[in-house]
């Protein structure tokens, strides 16, 4: 037996009311065959706030440019330090708490980020049901369609789609099996596997069913950038999925998202690396999938179905967690929030440190943009900001991998402060690994690892 056994449960019977095929985007049609899933899917319009997640429904007065009557809370308004962090980048104009899948298309269409910058068609990859449109544009070839849309301006691309993520984006219409429809993920996961020595990885051929329960989400909930003039959507994973490997990837390629308006630093923006952070956590390590928590099984009469109301598990703790953890809902909530509170504390410390760095680097940069101090401080800002943003932009506030999130933030704090020291002319000291981990049989030589150079004399009493 194994913990994930429930996955192999017998599938539920259904009545085939309509014939589905690979060209039907409209979820209402699929919903004829699967009314329970469709009902839940539609509930992603609900807006409820949790301590750190969910979303809050705020009324706004619609105007011609933006017809939305309800939006979610503005994060840059709640924490203006974000504006400073992203100075000169579109995110400093508008960045909101994300909400349910039902809104993904309109929120992308009407964000101010579309107004201040001309965005490419690439954006649609994760905000609309583009599987059928890609295939159409590519004359049946998904990848070619993807490439074509990437190179359109968004304003043109948007005529090619009309739905948020739909059934067809995650399911094979013939047998309802999960499948990957997003080129970005197909290529990203293949690059990751190649980096681990697995050649020719084809996710739709090689992934297990349990992996697919995570990968379908990994199609979109990931860090990405637009590569080259073709604006090819790329997941920077060939060195690995940790924040450090991704930073190393960008350092190697010299990529920057923008130039920081106040300090001239070649800055990077991290975006929703849920899949990446989750992958470092104990749940991933234990084989628990995104869908286990965000689409848990629920009983409907005599059947068990996957809850297609994708949302914060904090709003659904009994189904999401109690299958595996026998703690009360209250206790489960407290556990989540304790993890998030700790993450948030470090996030705030890192944010303050970054603000001080930017505040101090700005005049130095104005005074002499080419000085060694400024250059060094800029490089620290770049690193600090990316690592901080990696946790900030990740939407679980550390829950998906608590210790790893704290580790990444610890590094961010270190870099931000080193930046401040660099502005003042300081230079980093040697990096010491401490004693090399070692284990095994008792050592009989009577000698431990040779002392390392830095930091004080070896006392007479050493063995």
């Amino acid at each position: 037996t194994n913990i994930l056994e429930r996955q192999s449960e017998a599938r539920n019977p259904f009545y085939r009311v309509v014939e589905l095929n690979d060209t039907i985007t409209d979820p209402a049609v699929w919903g004829k065959n699967f009314p329970l899933q469709y009902d839940d899917y539609q509930k992603t319009v609900d807006m409820v706030r949790t301590r750190y997640g969910g979303s809050e429904a705020l009324p706004r007065v619609p105007d011609e440019a933006d017809p939305r009557e309800i939006v979610s809370q503005s994060k840059i308004y709640e924490d203006p330090r974000l504006v400073e962090m992203w100075a000169g980048y579109a995110f400093s104009h508008d960045f909101r708490e994300e909400r349910g899948h039902a809104y993904m298309l309109e929120d992308q269409l009407f964000t101010q980020r579309q107004v201040v910058v001309q965005q490419p068609g690439t954006c649609a990859h994760c905000h609309a049901s583009v599987y059928v449109p890609y295939r159409k544009l590519g004359d049946g070839d998904l990848i070619r369609g993807f490439e074509t849309m990437n190179q359109m301006p968004y304003s043109e691309a948007k005529n090619h789609f009309s739905h948020p993520v739909s059934c067809i984006d995650c399911h094979d219409p013939n047998n309802m099996q999960l499948r990957i429809t997003r080129p970005g993920f197909m290529e990203g996961i293949a690059a990751l596997k190649a980096g681990q020595g697995v050649a020719d990885y084809d996710v739709n051929r090689d992934a297990t069913r349990q992996e697919m329960r995570t990968y379908v989400c990994g199609q979109c909930h990931v860090e990405y950038y637009f590569k080259g003039p073709e604006k090819r959507l790329t997941y920077p994973w060939n060195k690995g999925l940790t924040a450090d490997s991704i930073l190393a990837y960008y350092e190697e390629s010299g990529f920057k998202d923008w130039t920081h308006a106040k300090t001239g630093a070649p800055a990077l923006k991290a975006q929703h690396p849920e899949f990446e952070l989750y992958s470092q956590g104990i749940h991933a390590r234990s084989g628990v999938a995104c869908a286990d928590c965000h689409m848990p099984y629920k009983r409907e009469g005599a059947m068990k179905i996957s809850d297609h109301h994708v949302r914060s598990p904090v709003l659904n703790l009994d189904k999401a967690c109690q299958t595996c953890h026998r703690w009360s809902e209250e206790e489960l909530k407290a556990r989540v929030e304790q993890i998030q509170d700790r993450t948030f504390e470090l996030r705030n410390i890192a944010m303050d440190a970054l603000m001080e760095l930017i505040g101090e680097l700005e005049p130095a940069f104005r005074a002499d943009s080419a000085s060694a101090n400024v250059r060094l401080a800029q490089s620290y800002q770049r690193k600090a900001q990316f690592l901080l943003d990696f946790v900030e932009a990740e939407n679980s506030v550390g829950f998906h991998a608590p210790q790893e999130a704290a580790r990444v933030l610890g590094n961010a704090i270190n870099y931000a402060r080193m930046g401040q020291i660099a502005v003042r002319g300081g230079r980093p000291g040697p990096v010491n690994p401490g004693l090399p981990p070692r284990e095994g049989a008792p050592n009989t030589t009577g000698r431990t690892t040779a002392g390392r150079p830095a930091g004080g004399a070896v006392p007479a009493s050493a063995p």
């Binding site: 037996t1 913990i3 005599a302 009994d318 299958t323 595996c324 953890h325 026998r326």
Partner: protein
């Protein structure tokens, strides 16, 4: 609403509940509760997960559902069965019960004590200081009895949660 009317409504509701529960109890072979055959529990599809997990578990050939889920003693055993049988039938019919299933406090205690029905010998030593119902090994003539707080038993389920069935 007067207390009398409330009382009448309550009585009517209880009556209906008994009727409904009783109906299921008979129809869905609720009498299965009175036998020791585990397949009887699995009469309800709700119990299927546990049944199939039990089939794969370490106790399949040594303990049936009732060995763990009913207390020692004839009366207590049938009382528990009747009470659970009724409540579960009601739950089954109304569809109102926690999802995932959760063991209730009383039933948890029963399970906890069930282990010691069979395993007193092996756990004797670790219970040495508690005297939870079985022979208290007083070691010395002058042995003063310990303060009550410390008479807590070691719980078995804390560590051996999945011996019956690993569904979680």
């Amino acid at each position: 609403m007067s207390p009398q009317r409330l009382g009448i409504i309550a009585a009517a509701l209880i009556g209906a509940a008994i009727a409904v529960g009783g109906y299921t109890f008979v129809y869905a072979k609720g009498s299965a509760y009175l036998t020791n055959d585990p397949a009887a529990c699995a009469n309800c599809h709700i119990m299927e997960d546990h049944f199939s997990a039990w089939l794969k578990g370490s106790h399949r050939s040594v303990a049936t559902c009732n060995d763990c889920h009913t207390p020692k003693g004839l009366f207590a055993k049938y009382y528990t069965k009747a009470e659970n049988g009724f409540r579960h039938s009601l739950g089954f019919t109304t569809g109102r019960f926690p999802d995932p299933l959760q063991i209730t406090g009383h039933n948890y205690e029963i399970v906890e004590h069930a282990c010691r029905k069979c395993h007193t010998q092996i756990t004797m030593a670790i219970d040495v200081a508690t005297g939870d119902g079985d022979p208290v090994p007083v070691l010395n003539a002058d042995g003063a009895s310990a303060p009550p707080a410390q008479h807590d038993e070691a719980t078995c389920v804390r560590c051996h949660r999945s011996v019956g069935h690993w569904v979680r």
